[in-house]
Amino acid sequence: MTERSDGPRDSRSGTTAAREAPAEPAQHPSATSGGGGSAAAKPTWGGRSGNLGPSPRVAIFFLLPTLILLGAMVVYPIIYSIYRSLFDRAGNTFVGLGNYTDIFTDQSMLTTIRNNLIWVVVAPILVTTLGLIFAVLTERIRWATAFKLIVFMPMAVSLLASGVIFRLVYEQDPDKGVANAVITTVRDAFSSSAGYPGARPRPNDEAHAVQNGAVVTRQPVGAGGPALVPLVGLRPNAVPADAAPAKAPAAGGGLSGTVWLDFTPGGGGKTGQIDAGEKGMPGITVEALQNGAVRDTTTTASDGTFAFAGLPAGQYTLRLPQENFAAAFNGVSWLGPALITPAIIGAFIWVWAGFAMVLIAAGLAAIPRDALEAARIDGATEWQVFRQITVPLLSPVLVVVFVTMIINTLKVFDLVFVIAPGSVQPQANVIALEMWRVSFGGGDNQGLGSALAIFLLVLVLPFMIINIRRFRREGR
């Protein structure tokens, strides 16, 4: 600061001119007729105290608007928040540091702090890294501007709108949520799940039970009578179109039976009996077990009947393996309590990666090309150039992006508020959201809210100081 402001003053011959002025009074009017005013003004600039710069009174006059604005909008609110945080809910009982101890003893507050910690550790690193990768890569492609424009575009959308978008993206139902639509489509391309998801024996079925997803007979069955396996829990239209009305297997032969949908549309059918209108379930694998080992396997026909042809007479346990009932993969529950914070961080990255990329790309353009070329001529690989030359030269920009992101993540509010459904907000909570909720959003406790605000301020402060110090160093 001082060095730079010294420069112009020398050229205007500030101090020397002012001191010499009284010594040569006659010269001035003749030499510069119009310059009399500036010469007369200079003594006041110099000041009696010998200070450089304007007099304190002028300085204060110019600083006043800023001081008033900053005082009213920054300093006073901070001081009042500190004062308010020492009082209770109603604001008239002094509780000392009670609100602050509440923050660190309440279980849900600790979750909130833990979430903020995850945010601060994960999000800035990911955003900066992605921004760096994008910036370095776009330097080398032909349509760099178009690509940068697209990546930067989310910045044009407000955070609230981005939240609404990602709430839809993360929707559980693959018909609505694009994230799950992608996942289920990819999965279905590799494994098709044709079967009867959801089909099950009735809960009061005494002959059949569910073990590890497979339907098994509780008692071993023999060739004596047909083994009837009634299943429910499927819509009639979930049975393939070629399914025929269910019927009992032809008598005689070995072990045989029927698997069918034991639910008469419209009700009225008898439980465990094949009624008119009930369809067989074709294509179900049936295993015959003896002493835990599979002796034979067969598949049901279109009317649901099955028969084990070459099986020796005896008692067998029938098992309909789990594959018959494998539930269609329904995507990842992004908005559930386990994944909610990573999901929201994903949305945050979508918004901010473009910003990081643009800043870093600007820094990249300023790197001296000769340093890179020198390294390449010396035989460094591209990776070495990147690691040893590009990143160190970029580090000031990287730090700016990183610190800005830390501050942004500390005060993240809107994305969490919009994306997390009500039931998982406690698991997704962050300090800024909790602060709002406690003071205005139903909690109605502005003492605790102020304490949270001050806590947040204390967290942000170090990064602010880092930023300011760096600016000053660069200014020098």
């Binding site: 829990g233 819509r235 908005l335 009500g422 907000q425 406690p426 909720r437 205005f440």
Partner: protein
């Protein structure tokens, strides 16, 4: 006393009839207004140039319907009424505006607890004698009590919600061959049959915590009785009480089974209120949704015809008492302005109620709004049950609690009942947490 009441009721009925007769299709008929509200002058419009701001939480269909009522008031008085939506969180919207000294003229509060809270802050204006006269004429004392704080009447219940209903998709019931149940055991059996038919019986709106508190209140009122209900509402008995255990066990009978709840519990916890109605009537994935009369508006939006596909049955008795739980919105004045009191009197009158009653999704607690006004048979029945039930109904318990306990997303009762839906096995643990939160909120 009794004769006086009867006379008042008779007079009210006559007035209501007059309002209906005059109101035909055009609600802005001046004569009826003169007959109904003593303060409403005839001739030139008395409130020309006056502008009134009304804030309420309604959006979408409910907002459009309310705006029609406001339009009728505008046409009648000439006042210019603007509507501001507060969003789900009325307290969060009004709090800063009250503190900033710039509240709307009228706010419609979703919880009686807020009446008390704002009255304590001196933010409310006591109702004018004209409005009080309307209330005495049209409401039972129970409702008047509800809008009062510290002995003064501040609010008038303008919209009631009948929360003791279970809506069902009649197609799903026909496919499964079940009839609407009348008791809890019947409900569980019906649910099992519907599940066997391949349709999830219940679509729970777990992401909207208030729907879970409604379910709890119905079951609790039924199993524990009205006296215990009142005590628990005031936190005079603890949430660890055995009656609460019993109610939660009943609820677990339907929420604890994977095949009873659409999408399982994790799916239900991501489903918010109107979505769960769509799942029953739009996507037809589930058979029943346990919520109040206002489901009708959302069901109609999903393309179902109320009364044909979209039907309801009264919440089945889970214990001794037939539960009738009501919710409702209370209009209060936040500014001392002539227009504000005039509008409140209009909303409390049989005339205003009748205009509103002709629109779908509205139920009036006003006993002089004739059930004949309602557009559907179902609403007519509902209105009649509220009028018949009189003093024996109970108000929504969570709305009587401090909002930190009974009315905040992700906190208190909302959160803990969501936790209970997620894992219904640890009833004692949930009760203990409920008690801890309640103790904090009632402090």
């Amino acid at each position: 006393m009794r004769t006086a009441k009867a006379l008042a009721a008779l007079a009210g009925l006559a007035l209501a009839a007059a309002a209906c007769g005059g109101g035909g299709g055009t609600p802005q008929s001046g004569q009826t207004g003169g007959a109904t509200t003593s303060s409403a002058p005839a001739g030139p419009k008395p409130l020309d140039g006056v502008s009134i701001e009304v804030a309420a939480k309604w959006t979408g269909e409910e907002q459009r319907n309310f705006e029609q009522v406001l339009k009728a008031f505008q046409a009648k008085t000439g006042a210019k009424v603007t509507y501001a939506s507060t969003g789900e969180d009325t307290g969060a919207y009004l709090g800063p505006r009250v503190q900033g000294g710039n509240p709307p003229d009228i706010a419609i509060l979703p919880q009686p607890g807020l009446v008390q809270q704002y009255a304590d802050q001196d933010a409310l204006k006591p109702l004018s004698p004209e409005v009080l006269a309307e209330i005495d004429k049209n409401y039972t004392p129970y409702w008047k009590e509800l809008g009062s704080a510290g002995g003064k009447v501040y609010g008038v219940l303008v919209k009631a919600a009948h929360k003791s209903l279970i809506w069902y998709n009649s197609t799903s019931f026909e496919d499964a061959g079940v009839q609407p149940p009348t008791d809890w055991a019947g409900l569980v059996t019906a649910a099992q049959t519907v599940a066997d038919s391949g349709v999830a019986p219940f679509s729970l709106c777990g992401a909207s915590g208030w729907t879970l508190t409604d379910l709890f209140e119905n079951v609790y009122l039924s199993t524990a009785g009205p006296d215990n209900y009142d005590k628990l509402s005031k936190h005079e008995i603890k949430w660890t009480d055995a009656t609460v255990t019993a109610a939660l066990q009943k609820i677990a009978e339907i929420t604890g089974k994977k095949e009873y709840v659409l999408g399982g519990t994790s799916g239900a916890l991501q489903t918010d209120f109107p979505t769960c109605v769509t799942q029953v009537y739009g996507q037809k994935k589930a058979a029943m949704v346990i919520e109040a009369d206002f489901v009708a508006a959302s069901a109609a939006e999903s393309g179902a015809k109320v009364g044909e596909t979209a039907k309801f049955f009264p919440f089945p008795k889970a214990g001794e008492t037939e539960p009738v739980v009501l919710g409702g919105d209370i209009a209060v004045a936040l500014k001392e302005s002539k227009g504000a009191m005039e509008l409140l009197a209009y909303l409390a009158s049989a005339e205003g109620g009748s205009v509103w009653a002709r629109l779908p999704g509205y139920l009036s607690p006003n006993r002089n709004v004739s059930p004949a006004n309602y557009p559907s048979e179902l609403t007519k029945t509902l209105a009649q049950t509220i009028i018949d039930a009189g003093e024996s109904v109970r108000y929504d318990m969570s709305d009587l609690a401090p909002s930190a306990f009974g009315g905040t997303d992700g906190k208190g009762e909302w959160k803990l009942l969501q936790d209970f839906l997620r894992d219904p096995s640890d009833i004692k643990g949930i009760q203990q947490k409920l008690e801890d939160e309640a103790a904090k909120a009632w402090k």
